[in-house]
Symmetry: C2
Subunit: 354 residues, 2 copies
């Protein structure tokens, strides 16, 4: 009696379709059908084949399937080194989400190393040439990113995490509505009684930064609050932020919405410098919910991106694109959520822990 389900083939004893077929007393093709188009078989036959598959612990060989069907069921993702500082502090969460969504759809994520600098096309070309992947997920989409156009030109399915902020829109993407996030931050602050709410962002021209600024602006306007003189820009690092936020504090700002947690931390420093306490004296809201945000003191209220949902949507759009290459591009904008912590306390309550 052949091996049973509980001890599947160890390496080196490949169970093939043909073996299963022989055991079930059918042709190989019928076994293939049992797996790929079960509704073609008579229920009775299907049952017999399924039992044989189970008993022998059969799994179709991906290599053979890929060769025949010209589809690898693999999704490529170029992983870039986090150059510290500002970029994507939580990429592993995103990757996990991606991987999970892909797995559930019968796909897998194939990683390849992207060089630190701008994204080069080399890795993509290599994977593509060897028919290694069926499509790509892009992230860290930069302003003059050549990848979208390049991939679109050769008809390769792809989805970007992040909009294209300049030039013509190409392909599908999933992104998080930054404006909505800062808008919600302002709403939260207004509800707490704040009226002089400033925005600390990056220099104009960065798509992401302008987006986040816009949410602050529109919410302020909606409440009839002035925005003039309440906006500053700085580089992404803490030190620059500390300096940039000073004029805002001088102008009597009671709350700051920052375009990133890093910038928010710059506010913390600037406040301490003038013997003011973040949270108690001036409320601060960050953006990204980086791991650091929760462990600062006071812990930082911040806008969290729904990375799990983003990963899921990326895979969904990518599969849709593969299924129908000619479909009109689909774009998904997801809502971030405000994580309220101690840096935006309710006025009545006590000051945050020492």
């Amino acid at each position: 009696m052949p091996r049973s389900t509980s001890s599947p083939s160890p390496k080196g004893s490949p169970v093939t379709l043909a073996m299963v077929a022989r055991r079930a007393g059918v042709s190989p093709q019928t076994v293939s059908n049992a797996i790929n188009s079960p509704d073609l078989l008579r229920p009775e036959t299907l049952e017999r084949v399924r039992r044989a598959i189970d008993e022998m612990g059969y799994r179709p060989s991906r290599a053979a399937q890929s060769l025949r069907t010209r589809s690898s069921k693999l999704i490529g993702y170029g992983i870039q080194p986090a150059p510290g500082g500002d970029t994507a502090p939580v990429m592993d969460r995103f990757l996990h989400a991606l991987s999970q969504a892909a797995d559930e759809a019968g796909y897998r994520m194939l990683l390849f190393a992207c060089p630190p600098g701008g994204p080069s096309l080399e890795g993509y070309e290599e994977l593509l040439g060897r028919h290694d992947v069926d499509g790509f997920v892009l992230s860290n989409t930069a302003r003059q990113d050549p990848r979208q156009a390049w991939l679109a030109k050769r008809g390769v399915p792809f989805v970007g995490f992040g909009r294209m902020w300049s030039g013509r829109q190409i392909g599908d993407w999933v992104d998080v509505d930054g404006a909505s996030g800062t808008d919600a931050a302002v709403e939260h602050l207004v509800a707490l009684g704040h009226r002089r709410i400033a925005f600390l962002g990056w220099p104009r021209g960065s798509g992401v930064g302008d987006d986040r600024a816009e949410g602050w602006q529109r919410a302020m306007r909606r409440h009839g609050l002035p925005t003039r003189g309440r906006r500053a820009a700085s580089a992404g690092d803490i030190e620059a932020a500390r300096i940039a936020v000073k004029p805002l504090l001088d102008a009597g700002t009671t709350a700051v919405v920052a375009a990133s947690d890093m910038l928010a931390l710059g506010c913390y420093h600037a406040l301490r410098e003038r013997n003011a306490a973040p949270g108690r004296d001036v409320a601060v809201v960050g953006f990204d919910d980086s791991p650091t945000a929760g462990i600062l003191s006071p812990s930082l209220t911040t806008v969290a991106q729904p990375l799990e949902a983003v990963g899921g949507e990326c895979v969904r759009l990518l599969l849709a694109r593969m299924a129908n290459p000619a479909a009109p591009p689909e774009r998904v904008l997801l809502e971030p959520s405000l994580v309220v912590r101690d840096s935006t306390p309710t006025p009545g309550s006590d000051a945050p822990a020492p």
Copy 2:
């Protein structure tokens, strides 16, 4: 005239070995040899074939290669969700290193999602059954981790990031010498004039934690410094650490070596609570160099793991194991490095920034 190098085949026009062969006026097998065993060919022929390959932008199909050679050139890695808190704060750096090392060796990393709880074998079995991967890299190796034994039993090559702390040693692994890291931390503190140096770790029984404690202990002993009453244990979170470190501070400790950055942060809180300044009044050293360490104030001196090197070694060991499954197991212990920041200031110098 066929297409030139500069415009490689767009999707759907696969250049095959046979096409190249025809163009070079040789048999397909010769082209295969030109790629896999160039020394078999007459230099003249080799040159001709190479030119044809270049001109046509040929790339061997991975699927066909895998089918024939039974080797996918893929390395599996089960990515787990970071459950926040304590674990692996910088997994993306490790993944990038892994990916890069694999790429350079002609391999690629294949991701699959591990369920949050304990590592299950399901994903591994699936990948293996379909001959999808040639081997695995394991991380987050837990105490009662069944994966090593399971993989070893069926002769699947694997490398663990992390030693096995209990039971029989199985297979190859790469790890970071935690004891050496805390030892170096003590050396550093002693050089700064500290003598009452405490250790804040996790409850005994965690392999990693005991290792780190041991380095502190041996360095203390080497310098003839007492360790009794200078050691405390707490859970991994900040709050627990804050409480656990109190007795140490009460005992007049001037420096604390913590088993993680998170624990070190707990020290920060405990110190502030008693109106003492981390760095100025009591030196603190963390472990892991998490992104947070550099942006705390004062910035945290911490022990950094050489993740890039770990990734490289993992791939190296794995390839060696594949090349020679019967070789004796290889274990690599890498040295961490101390990153000195403001939480361990030189006595003469000014206190850290406000």
